[in-house]
Amino acid sequence: MQDQINTHTISVLVDNEAGVLARVIGLFSGRGYNIDSLTVAEVDDGAHTSRITVVTTGTPMVIEQIKAQLGRLVPVHRVVDLTVETDSVERELALIKVSGKGEARVEALRMSEAFRARVVDATPDSFVFELTGRTGKIDAFIGLMRPLGLKEVSRTGVAAIARGAEAM
């Protein structure tokens, strides 16, 4: 139990001051924690707060440390572990470029419809698909595109928020 490694999505509300992202990233690299994905953007321009969403993995003790270490950074307002403290919605956006002709091209387009991806750019021999969803869904779609002429992928990383009326 204590050695089991789990994935957690952690939301961190910070003052949007210079260097705050470097502090968070430095904390993870300096202490040897994993970052599976990290997203950041200002979410309240009046209060100058940004929201950082980190997806990380570790044993329960390491996850607890990560949260405590984040919490003690001076510009941090709040740290919420969305994986254990709430029921949450997680989404990621990906732009996926596929090139090919003939059968593969048709197949790629058909798959994109099944995944509800949108075509945001098309040339006679390529598509760029836009897909939103949970990380697993995006992974699955990319997997399917691989034999069909996958060229490159750009992903935003996970944004997450708790379900229900409460704010963090």
Binding site: Q2, V14, D15, A18, G19, A22, R23, G26, G30, M61, E64, Q65, A68, Q69, G71, R72, L73, V74, P75, V76, H77
Partner: protein, 585 residues
């Protein structure tokens, strides 16, 4: 509308309003406006060190011996990078410090300008917090915030990096009271439910032990008083980390001595065998726990700490209480008294009887020698001849530091300054300088090693300049003794680069600085030489020639369990250290 001031004037005004009386620093191009303001006022005295590392350790000594923050002022580039060791030291040992660094002008930042360094980048991982001040308008707030962050919660170093143009720019000043922090709010009071549970657990303990640490010192003299009261009330044994020495008087029969790698037999066995451990402001450092899976396997652990990240970091605890030691102990004592709790007397008697059998091992006994001075003997004599409430001890890092911890004894907090977490050789002389600045009439002694002192020896010049009568008591074994001991233990006695070759003549060196040099080579001349040192008005370098290959015992080899301790009488060192143990520092 109030008048404006220059950034440099704001710095001095803020220091004065923060009650700062002394700063330790070294000038340079990027801080000249601030030095110009220092020149034109008397409230803040500047102590000119000889190396910026010295400024940081002096500030640490100042802070640890007073409870006030230590303040440092250095220039950009090399001034700031030289301060990095002391900042890291202060971070590891939770020492409140504000370090002001000069920076190149804002428009030059990022251009590899002369003496530019990314100071906030470099110091981010070695400070509690740091700031780059981009506008003089932010300067008053940031300076007051820096003091607030450095001194509250778990104390630590804070860097304020001020570009030169900001030092010249005009802005309005703001008093400290106007500063409120949006996000930084350390938890001071402990959760009362947890305190009830703790009292319950403590009252039912059959083999309890208090394990106190540097957090008690950080919390202030009141915390030491409350700790003493609680320990007396319960009748429990108490041990402390290196950083907590002095919080509980060593003369008290309930005192077991220091615990950990070089702690006493009785303290470590009590920790190993206890059923309830009460950790007060200590952080389960690896010097304490040894092999984690064998650390105090059968105890319920209570942990009082102001920093949530100290809890469950190395050791899983049963009952965490986040809060300030003094506040939590105050509540705990109140609950204890109001419930008229009685500890289990019968069980305690048995527990003490067991502890007495461990004490009878006399783990700190060593073979006396009447021809050569044993280092343990030197510290014992130094203690006997210098003890008292007005004596302050600093140390360097190595065997002498451990012997100082074992054989010098402390009755009061804030009298013991040592680099514990980072283990910085060269800490002791500048720290002594800082302590002496804060306590001009005190007897301040650095118990030192001959290798360590050479790292910051130049600060003797500072001591001479400011008439600071610090005493540098060198246990000169002509070895980096601690390194040699590990080489003897783990590397087949191959003393690779651990011999102190080509040492200076410390007596002549003292004289060259304008200080006094004293040497003692024989046990029968030691006492007189120490007395002479005490009587000498100015700084002294005391070269105490000790036996060369003495080992520091007891010792728990790294990677071993607490009940796997080496004592002085198994001098043979024929133990097997596991590969996992060898990997550890």
């Amino acid at each position: 509308m109030s008048a404006t001031m220059t950034g440099a004037q704001i710095v001095l005004k803020a220091l004065q309003d923060q009650g700062v009386e002394h700063i330790f620093g070294y000038p340079g191009g990027a801080v000249l406006p601030i030095y110009d303001e220092i020149f034109q006022q008397d409230a803040v005295e500047h102590i000119l060190v000889r190396h910026e590392q010295g400024a940081t350790h002096a500030a640490e000594g100042y802070a640890r011996s007073t409870g006030k923050p230590g303040v440092v002022l250095v220039t950009s580039g090399p001034g700031a990078t030289n301060a990095v060791t002391g900042l890291t030291d202060a971070l590891m040992d939770s020492i409140p410090m504000v370090c002001i660094t000069g920076q190149v002008a804002t428009h030059l930042i990022g251009n590899d300008a002369f003496q530019e360094a990314d100071t906030v980048g470099i110091t981010r991982p070695c400070t509690k917090h740091n700031y780059l001040v981009k506008s003089a308008d932010d300067l008053p707030r940031i300076l007051h915030e820096a003091f607030h962050v450095a001194t509250t919660g778990r104390p630590g170093p804070v860097v304020v990096d001020i570009p030169k143009d900001v030092q010249f720019a005009e802005a309005k000043y703001m008093r400290p009271t106007a500063v409120k922090h949006k996000t930084y709010k350390p938890q001071i009071k402990g959760d009362i439910e947890a305190i009830y549970t703790a009292v319950d657990l403590i009252s039912k303990a059959k083999k309890p032990v208090f394990y106190s640490g540097g957090g008690v010192i950080n919390s202030g003299p009141q915390a030491s008083q409350l700790l003493r009261e609680f320990v007396k009330l319960t009748g429990f044994p108490i041990t402390s980390t290196l950083m907590g020495l002095g919080a509980f008087p060593s003369a008290d029969p309930q005192w077991l001595g220091m615990l950990g790698m070089h702690g006493t037999y009785e303290a470590n066995l009590a920790m190993h065998d206890c059923d309830v451990m009460i950790n007060i402001g200590a952080r389960f450092d690896d010097r304490i726990t040894g092999r984690l899976d064998a650390f105090s396997p059968n105890s319920k652990k209570i942990h009082i700490d102001i920093d949530p990240s100290s809890i469950n970091k190395n050791v899983a605890v049963d009952l965490p209480i986040v809060g300030d030691v003094a506040h939590v102990l105050e509540d705990m004592l109140r609950v204890w008294k109001s419930r008229a709790v009685e500890p289990d007397k019968k069980a305690l008697t048995d527990w003490w009887a067991e502890i007495e059998t461990w004490r009878r091992r006399k783990c700190l006994a060593y073979r006396k020698d009447d021809k050569a001075i044993k280092p343990q003997y030197a510290v014992e004599r130094l203690y006997e001849l210098t003890k008292g409430p007005n004596t302050y001890i600093t140390t360097e890092v190595g065997q002498h530091q451990m012997w100082a911890a074992q054989y010098y004894r402390f009755e009061e907090p804030n009298r013991w300054m040592t680099s514990g977490g980072l283990g910085t050789m060269g800490y002791g002389i500048p720290a002594a300088v800082g302590v002496q600045v804060a306590h001009p009439d005190a007897l301040v002694i650095d118990i030192a090693g001959e290798a360590s002192v050479l790292m910051t020896m130049q600060e003797i010049s500072t001591a001479v300049q400011y008439r600071l009568p610090v005493k540098i008591f060198i246990l000169n074994n002509e070895y980096m003794g601690m390194v040699r001991q590990w080489q003897e233990l783990l590397h087949g006695g191959r003393y690779s680069s651990s011999y102190s070759e080509a040492l200076p003549d410390f007596v002549k060196l003292a004289e060259a600085y304008g200080a006094t040099g004293i040497r003692a080579e024989k046990p029968d001349e030691l006492d007189d030489a120490i007395r002479k040192m005490i009587k000498t008005k100015g700084p002294v370098i005391f070269d105490c020639i000790v036996t060369k290959e003495e080992n520091c015992f007891p010792m728990i080899p790294s990677g071993a369990a607490h009940n796997d301790m080496l004592l002085a009488d198994d001098q043979g060192l024929d133990i097997e250290v596991s590969d996992a143990g060898k990997v550890m520092v």
